[in-house]
Symmetry: C2
Subunit: 342 residues, 2 copies
C-alpha cells in the first residue's frame, strides 16, 4: 500500500537543497525534514541566490559527504513541481560528490538529460518519490472501520502537515493508537510512506485517499495530512478528492493569521475560517454524515507568545471551537486534542 | 492544444463495440457516437452476453470491414476504465479482420499482451484517445476574455455531454459564435479534439480546464462538457477542477428524473436540483463571481412527451428557472437558450 520507498531504502542522512528560494513557504520540504526528521538532516546547501536558511550548517556536497550524507533532497515545493534550470549545475555537483538525489517534484529527475548523464557517470541514483503506485482503484464511498482526522486549510503551505504530525504525536502521547498518513512529498520523506495525492490521476483521487487510510480497528485513528484548499484556484481538485475519500470523522482547519491572499495568487482573498469550516463540513458530509470540526490550528510562528495566545482565545470565543497552535504546546492544544478525540 | 488526434487521423468510419454491457448507461460512448456522429458509424458488435443495442446493424468485424469500416471503437465507459477480459478475443478478431482499435479507456490497449501481439501480427493500430497532452500548467485563476457555459450534473451519465452539444448547436443556429469543448472520450471522438479531464493528474486539473477554453473574442461562447458531479463519491475531484478552471459565466444543471441514487453507488442518494445549483454556484463563484445558473436540463428519454412537458413546467415554476430537455426541441429549450445567452 505504501506509495514511497520506505525510509530505510532512501539514502539518509541528507543534505537539504534550497534551490534559489527567497521565500520560506516554497522550501517547505527542507523545513519539514529539519523539524520532523532532524536525525536525517546533515546540513543545507543552495544556489548563491537563495536567501533563506533552515539554520542547519551550510555545507558543500563534498563536505556533507565527508560528514556522512548519502543523499541530497530537493527541499523545494514550487508551482508545477519543476526542476529550476539554475539548479542543474548544483545537482550535477552533488552527484559528482557521491550523493544520490531525492526529489518530490512532479518532473522526473531523469527527464533532465544533464542529470541523467551525471548520475550514470557517477554511479548515483535519481529517486523520485512523487510517483503514485500503479492500479489505484476508483473510490467506492463505502464506509470503513476506524476513526479518521483530516487537516484542511484556508490555503496551501500554512501548517496542514505540521498540524497532522503534532496531532498524531499528541494522540500517541495519550496512548491512542494512531498513525500519521502522509499525502505529499515532505510527509512521505518524514514518515517513510504515504500517497502523493497531487500526482494521482483525477479520476482516482478519492480512491487513492481510500487506499491511504484503509479499514482499521474501530478505536484506531488515522491522522491524515491535508493538501491544498477547497478555495484554491489551482489545487481544489486535490482537496476535494482527499476530503471525499478520507471520510473524516473530524476536520481541523488550518490557517496562518495575517495571510490575506492565496500564496502566489494575490487576486484571490483567503476565505474566512467560518466559511472554510462550513464548506469542508458540507462537502465532507457526503461520505461521512457524522463529520464535525475538531478545532482550528493557527500557525503563529511569526507572532510573540502573548499575542498568539490572545488571538487563540479571541478566535476560540468567536468560533465556539478550540483554537491552538500545535507548535506551541500548552492548554490550548490539549483542549483541541480533547475535543478531537470527542 | 487539442488533446486528441483530429478525427481525420482516426480510422473512421467505425464499428461500435458494446463489450458485455447489459445497461445502456455504461455504453455511452457507443450511443454518443450514434447520436452525434452518425456519419462515422457503420454498425455495432458485442460479446454474446451484451443485451443492449444502439439500433445500428449488428455486423461482425469482417462484415463491417467489407462495408468500409476502418476502426472498431470500444463503446464502453466503465468504472476504472478497464478492458474487460471477456472482450479480448473479440478485439483480437477485429484486429485480424483488418480494423484498428480506438479506445477511450484509462487502461492502454497495448498493455494487454494479446492485443499488442495481435496488432503487430495484423499490422493494425491500437489508438488510446484518453491521453492528456504533456506539460499541462497549474491553474492560474486569471480571468480570460470570452463567455463560457459549463454543464454540471446531479450524477454521471445522465446528459451533460448531450446538453452541451445541443446548446452549442442551438447557439450556432442563432448565429452565435460558439464551440463545443469536449472533456471526455466520447466528446473527443465526436468533435475531434478536447481534453480528457478525468485522465489529468489532479494537481493540474484546473490548469487543464483553463487550457481547454482559452481566451477568446468577448462575444464568443465556449460550451464545455461537464464531468462527474460535485456529489459523486469517486469523481468529484474532476468536477471541482473543471468548475474552477472553466470559470463559467453560466452553468446548466443536468438531471435524469427518476434517478434516485448515484449510478453504481446505491447508498448515495442524489442531491436535489436546488442543492446541486447552490453548491455549483458557491464553488464556481470563487473563480467567476458573476456565475449564474442558466437553467435545468432534464433527460426525459424514458418518459412520454406529455408527461415530460408537464414535469418541465412544474420544475420550472418550482425553481424559477428555464427547464428543458435539449433532445426535445420546442419552446422550453428555446427559453433555456434565451436565458443562457442573457
Amino acid at each position: 500500500m505504501s506509495a514511497a520507498a520506505s525510509v530505510t531504502q532512501l539514502p539518509t542522512p541528507y543534505l537539504l537543497f534550497l534551490g534559489d528560494a527567497t521565500e520560506a513557504a516554497y522550501a517547505k520540504t527542507a523545513f519539514g525534514l529539519r523539524d520532523w526528521a532532524p536525525e536525517h538532516c546533515i546540513g543545507e546547501w543552495g544556489c548563491d541566490t537563495a536567501t533563506i536558511s533552515t539554520g542547519l550548517p551550510r555545507l558543500t556536497p563534498k563536505e556533507a559527504r565527508a560528514r556522512g550524507a548519502r543523499g541530497l533532497v530537493i527541499g523545494i515545493a514550487n508551482t508545477g513541481g519543476v526542476i529550476g534550470p539554475s539548479w542543474v549545475p548544483f545537482l550535477v555537483e552533488a552527484l559528482e560528490s557521491g550523493l544520490d538525489i531525492v526529489s518530490g517534484l512532479h518532473v522526473k529527475l531523469a527527464s533532465v538529460p544533464a542529470l541523467k548523464a551525471a548520475a550514470e557517470r557517477a554511479g548515483r541514483r535519481l529517486i523520485d518519490i512523487r510517483t503514485p503506485p500503479p492500479n489505484i482503484p476508483c473510490g467506492t464511498g463505502s464506509r470503513r472501520a476506524g476513526k479518521r482526522l483530516l487537516t484542511v486549510g484556508t490555503d496551501c503551505a500554512l501548517g496542514k502537515k505540521y498540524t497532522a504530525l503534532a496531532i498524531a504525536r499528541a494522540f500517541k502521547a495519550r496512548g491512542v493508537n494512531a498513525d500519521f498518513r502522509a499525502t505529499g512529498q515532505t510527509g512521505i520523506l518524514i514518515s517513510g510512506g504515504g500517497m502523493p495525492m497531487d500526482a494521482v490521476v483525477a479520476d482516482f483521487e478519492a480512491g487513492a485517499a481510500e487506499l491511504l487510510s484503509p479499514a482499521a480497528d474501530p478505536a484506531h485513528w488515522d491522522v491524515i495530512e491535508g493538501q491544498g484548499s477547497l478555495f484554491h484556484p489551482a489545487y481544489a481538485a486535490v482537496s476535494m478528492g482527499l476530503l471525499h475519500g478520507s471520510q473524516p470523522d473530524v476536520v481541523v482547519v488550518c490557517h496562518q493569521p495575517g495571510r490575506e491572499c492565496v500564496l502566489g495568487h494575490e487576486d484571490f482573498p483567503l476565505p474566512s475560517l467560518a466559511e472554510t469550516i462550513d464548506l469542508n463540513l458540507r462537502i465532507g458530509r457526503r461520505t461521512n454524515p457524522a463529520i464535525r470540526c475538531g478545532g482550528v490550528s493557527l500557525n503563529t510562528a511569526h507572532m510573540d507568545l502573548g499575542a498568539a495566545r490572545e488571538l487563540m482565545a479571541h478566535e476560540g470565543a468567536r468560533l465556539g471551537l478550540p483554537v491552538a497552535d500545535p507548535m506551541r504546546p500548552g492548554a490550548e492544544f490539549e483542549r483541541l486534542i480533547d475535543y478531537c478525540l470527542g
